[in-house]
């Protein structure tokens, strides 16, 4: 990715003063959510701070937890170890619990194409390969999957003004264990820029030739 573009994006976000994910006035996380839902054709996006967080959120969103078994074709060894830590068993037959795509600079312009044939209830998109640190997203068309996955994150879909309260929760949404899987707005802004620039060639320099 062009350093000039990254520098511009970082400076822009820092100038706003909003670098915390639970600020109501943050615009970077919703911006990346909108871009991902548009490019994948899914209705909802859950942003998280790593690939494993996204796998966890994809499962928690479907109510899958410790002691359950999922179908997943040929999971890699690392995913197998992580699922074992979650207490989730794996079998290779059946409808996959989630589909998985990993993006990097070579395929960042093909997110829509790469996910077009995905049919699982949740789509895990690993954004770490774009170069801004661990980052990922879960995409889904199911509002309940989205709501439960958000609740896995401490604060989830809520912010400093609309903090989650017991009155707002319905029984099916009560979280169990929660992690701070929240993505940083600065990282989200860079990821959004990378995906946008991948769709149209980046300007190599700020100077006109």
């Amino acid at each position: 990715m062009e350093l000039f573009d990254t520098a511009t994006v970082l400076a822009r976000v820092l100038t706003t003063g909003v670098v915390m994910s639970i600020e109501k006035s943050d615009r970077e996380l919703p911006g990346l959510e909108r871009l991902l839902t548009k490019q994948t054709g899914r209705a909802r996006a859950v942003l998280v701070n790593s690939r494993t967080a996204a796998v966890h959120a994809a499962l928690a969103g479907q109510g899958i937890g410790h002691g359950d078994t999922i179908a997943l074709s040929e999971p890699d060894a690392a995913t197998g170890r992580f699922l074992d830590w979650l207490g989730v068993g794996v079998e290779e037959q059946g409808r996959a619990a989630y589909d998985y795509v990993s993006l990097d600079s070579a395929n960042a312009d093909r997110l829509g194409e790469l996910t077009r044939t995905a049919t699982a209830p949740a789509l895990v998109v690993d954004l770490t390969g774009l170069g801004f640190g661990p980052a990922a997203a879960v995409l889904t068309d199911d509002d309940a999957v989205w709501a439960r996955a958000e609740r896995l994150k401490i604060f989830g879909a809520y912010d400093l003004r609309t903090m989650w309260t017991q009155e707002e929760a319905d029984a099916s949404l009560v979280p169990g264990v929660q992690f701070n899987y929240r993505l940083s707005p600065l990282v989200a802004a860079c990821v959004r820029m990378a995906l946008t620039q991948a769709a149209r060639p980046a300007t190599p320099t700020g100077a006109r030739s």
Binding site: A11, E167, C190
Partner: protein, 439 residues
């Protein structure tokens, strides 16, 4: 351009405003609406430039350099940078030797992440009450909760005041268990010359952008006293393939913030002292207590109300607090409750689904309690009688702003009649009778 630069300067305080009508009753507000935004974190050209430079370095080096610089500042033996405070606490517990089904004693008053980190380690949080003066874990309550399955004590340096580490250290040593700090509020806090994060066998600390020492978004760091515990935590991450990695973007921002942390700490301490002096003069309010030899970091500033001092002793303190809260907010001082019920009364610890199907609570059913708020009377007493300033003291606010905050407390304390009238016209509920809030 969207910028955080203040739109309007705050006028210097005017003594006449102290005697003017309360804002809630139609008078002018001590902090005008146009000047209420409190900037935090403070972002400077050094932060921007540091991020520019970081783009040209290997990401791993940016994160490692940051972690080493902060480890050195804290004085801990080993540091593991993580994606969040919760993950840092998880790693601190694992490094300290906590295993599935173990019991970890935590205070009932803290942020929910303290207890969720215990569950993340597949262990069971055992909740105990707090000290009535410091609001940190009560060592006697902790001692009473120890069983043969207890593996660690995890006190929280609440709001930035170190817990009673010497008593808890002695207790841990007596039982052969670990002392793990939750130092998430306590950047630069000290006991003597020792910095929070280096006081226990291990520590976890949030570095999210709303903490005294902010990274560029989300982040955390775990500290370890021994190489063995550090290696244990790293091996755990590898064995379970968990990605708790810190982004270089967050780390680069923190590297330049770290250089300015002592400056901001000094401003916070100055502002806390200035406000404390003003509160002592009101009768109605007292500032946080700081034991001798402790340095408070003032991530939050919890103020205690004394209704009897202004002739309101016949009214329940929680009702006085609610009325005062309303009056202060109208004056432009965004005081908060910051927690309104003990953590074990939040839904995740009432339902206890954990990772699913009750795990890990099912590993040790004997450690599990169906708690009610009344199980923690000291916590309830604190929730009834205190209000909190957060960013207003955390941010190195301008001198005129801290003076105006002080005047707002003076102005409200001078009007017990208005407080009484508000209580009579409202139907205030005790904090823990309302829906639990995360902060």
């Amino acid at each position: 351009m969207i910028t955080d630069f203040p739109a309007t300067p705050l006028p210097l305080p005017d003594p006449a405003e102290l005697d003017s009508e309360l804002a809630a009753l139609g008078g002018g507000a001590m902090i005008p609406k146009a000047a209420r935004r409190t900037l935090f974190p403070v972002i400077t050209k050094e932060d921007v430039f540091n991020l520019m430079l970081a783009q040209r370095q290997a990401p791993e080096k940016v994160v490692a350099d940051f972690a080493e610089a902060y480890r050195s500042y804290v004085g801990a033996a080993h540091a593991l940078p993580t994606a969040s405070g919760t993950s840092s606490l998880h790693m601190a517990l694992v490094g300290a030797g906590v295993r599935p089904g173990d019991e970890v004693i935590v205070p009932a008053f803290t942020f929910i992440a303290t207890a969720q980190a215990v569950v993340a380690a597949h262990a069971i949080p055992v909740f105990v009450d707090i000290d009535p003066v410091t609001y940190c874990m009560d060592p006697q309550a902790a001692a009473a909760a120890i069983t043969d399955r207890t593996r660690a004590l995890m006190p929280v340096h609440v709001h930035g005041l170190p817990a009673d580490v010497s008593a808890l250290r002695a207790l841990a040593d007596r039982h052969g268990i670990a002392l793990v700090e939750d130092a998430s509020h306590a950047h630069s806090a000290k006991v003597g010359e020792q910095v929070a994060g280096s006081l226990g066998d291990a520590a976890g600390q949030s570095l999210m952008a709303d903490k005294n020492f902010p990274l560029g978004g989300e982040g955390g760091i775990a500290f370890f006293a021994t190489e063995e515990s550090y290696d244990r935590a790293r091996a755990y991450l590898e064995r379970h393939a968990i990605d708790y990695g810190m982004s270089w973007v967050a780390a680069a921002f923190g590297a330049s913030q770290l250089k300015r942390l002592p400056y901001y700490d000094e401003i916070r301490a100055r502002n806390a002292a200035l406000l404390g002096e003003a509160l002592h003069g009101t009768g109605l309010f007292t500032p946080p207590h700081v034991p001798d030899g402790h340095v408070h970091a003032y991530n939050m500033y919890r103020i205690t109300l004394h209704p009897e001092a202004v002739g309101l002793g016949d009214i329940p303190v929680f009702a006085v607090k609610e009325a005062v809260h309303e009056l202060l907010v109208a004056e432009g001082v965004p005081a908060r409750e910051w927690q309104n019920t003990p953590i074990p009364c939040h839904l995740p610890f009432q339902h206890r689904d954990g990772f699913g199907n009750g795990y890990p609570f099912t590993l040790n059913p004997g450690a599990v309690r169906d708690h009610r708020p009344e199980d923690f009377p000291v916590t309830l007493g604190m929730l009834d009688s205190t209000l909190v300033l957060c960013r207003e003291l955390r941010s190195p606010v301008e001198y005129e702003r801290i003076l105006r905050y002080a005047d707002a407390f003076r102005k409200v304390a001078r009007r017990p009649d208005a407080i009484r009238k508000l209580v009579e016209t409202r139907d205030y509920r005790r904090p823990y009778d309302k829906a639990a809030r995360l902060g």
